[in-house]
Amino acid sequence: MSDGTRQNLDRWEDLHVARLLFGLSPEEQVEYEALARTMPAETGDEFERLIAKIDVAWADSKALPPHLRESIRAKAIAEIMQARQNTSPLSDISRPPSRQMNLLPWAIAAACLVVSFVTLTANRNPPVVPQDFAEMRANLLSSAKDLIELKWADGPTPVAGAEGDIVWSHALQQGYMRFHGLTVNVPTTEQYQLWIFDKNQSEKTPVDGGVFDITSTGDVIVPIHSKLHVANAYLFAVTIEKPGGVVVSSRDRLPLLAAVK
């Protein structure tokens, strides 16, 4: 190995280790990428795996705090259910917002695997027991100690016959909306969006509670996906927005409201 090559390797290893342990500055990143093109890929992977093994060896045994575990669990199940619904257009439950298209490859892969799995192992494995939003909502009702339960009321631009309720837990940062009679939307034209008004936030900038679709005028349950931590909600509002939702709503079309008494 020539001196130049040796120096390049040393420098690249320095940068690579720094990248794994501390992160690189933009300048270092450029240098790292230039050098990486001349280095064997497996060398980098080896260091990353090695550090991961040290992390495992040195990990503490302290369990996740219960509230954190419960919150992650609920989000995981919501994610899995959403992915399932992406592959199940006949579902009664609201479809996930189209802006979460990054889930699509996952959902397709999961669907393919499900088909393979069922075909290959139907006689050898126990069936997978699905949980739906109704079950998850029921779990929240039984586990949250600070549950807010509100009925939807007409907003400034009501939809005749639309009703339902909303449940929310500040401690768990989870909640579900139920609707009945709300107009089915065409996702490529418009979508519903939830806004959460928090006493710690300006009235002008409520928290985005997620974009969703209504696929049936029957009973529909939609999980709340708050984009920020909600400390003290005092009002929930559903607006109709362009596909993908908006950052700031004009509030021109606001069919449903639920105020905390």
Binding site: F22, L24, L50, V56, A57, L68, L113
Partner: protein, 186 residues
């Protein structure tokens, strides 16, 4: 048995098992590599959501699942830490509300061959190499802080960490080969 393939299949019952098996590992890493306790909690949520979404990427031939989870966790945490440090450039790390951590010991949550070998190989390093790795990997200190804390020039710190990791890598390879051949594991 790996759990991520089950999650990729949509098996919600694997979520609890996954949290049981990897919750402490991810929480431990996040606690050490996050500037505040609140940030550690956010990070853990982000890591697990990333794991659910990428569960189908894990394959048996990629090595132990726990190593995969640990790799994903560290990548996310370093990204977050780098962003945090950039945002807080004016603030010294000493001023940050760091989560208190002790010293590393062999994990009580995993005794896989890999983790046992890693600990055995760490013991073989020179004291200053092991210390540099401990301060960087376990405590998440930046190189400049390690230099300051150990009274070692910055360039030497970089060399100690790199040299220590190269030796660990070589030691792990030998241990792995001996183990595979039925010999004595390091």
């Amino acid at each position: 048995m790996p759990l991520l393939p089950r999650i990729a299949l949509g098996d919600t019952t694997a979520v609890d098992e996954c949290l049981d098996r990897y919750g402490a590992l991810v929480w431990s890493l996040a606690s050490r590599l996050s500037p505040t306790n609140a940030d550690a909690e956010d990070a853990v949520q982000e890591i697990f959501i990333h794991l659910w979404r990428n569960a189908s990427r894990y394959r048996d031939d990629m090595g132990e699942e726990v190593t995969f989870v640990s790799t994903i966790a560290r990548r996310k945490l370093i990204d977050r830490l780098r962003k945090f440090r950039r945002d807080q450039a004016h603030q010294s790390p000493d001023e940050l509300d760091r989560v208190e951590v002790g010293n590393p010991g062999l994990s009580a949550i995993d005794h896989s061959d890999d983790s046992r070998r890693a600990v055995a190989c760490l013991e073989k390093l020179r004291e200053n190499e092991r210390q540099a790795i401990e301060l960087s990997v376990y405590h998440g200190l930046p190189q400049s802080r390690i230099a300051e804390q150990t009274g070692t020039p910055l360039g030497t710190v970089k060399t100690l960490i790199r040299r220590g990791l190269v030796q660990l890598r070589n030691c792990m390879k030998i241990g792995s080969r001996l183990h595979a051949e039925g010999g004595v594991s390091v």
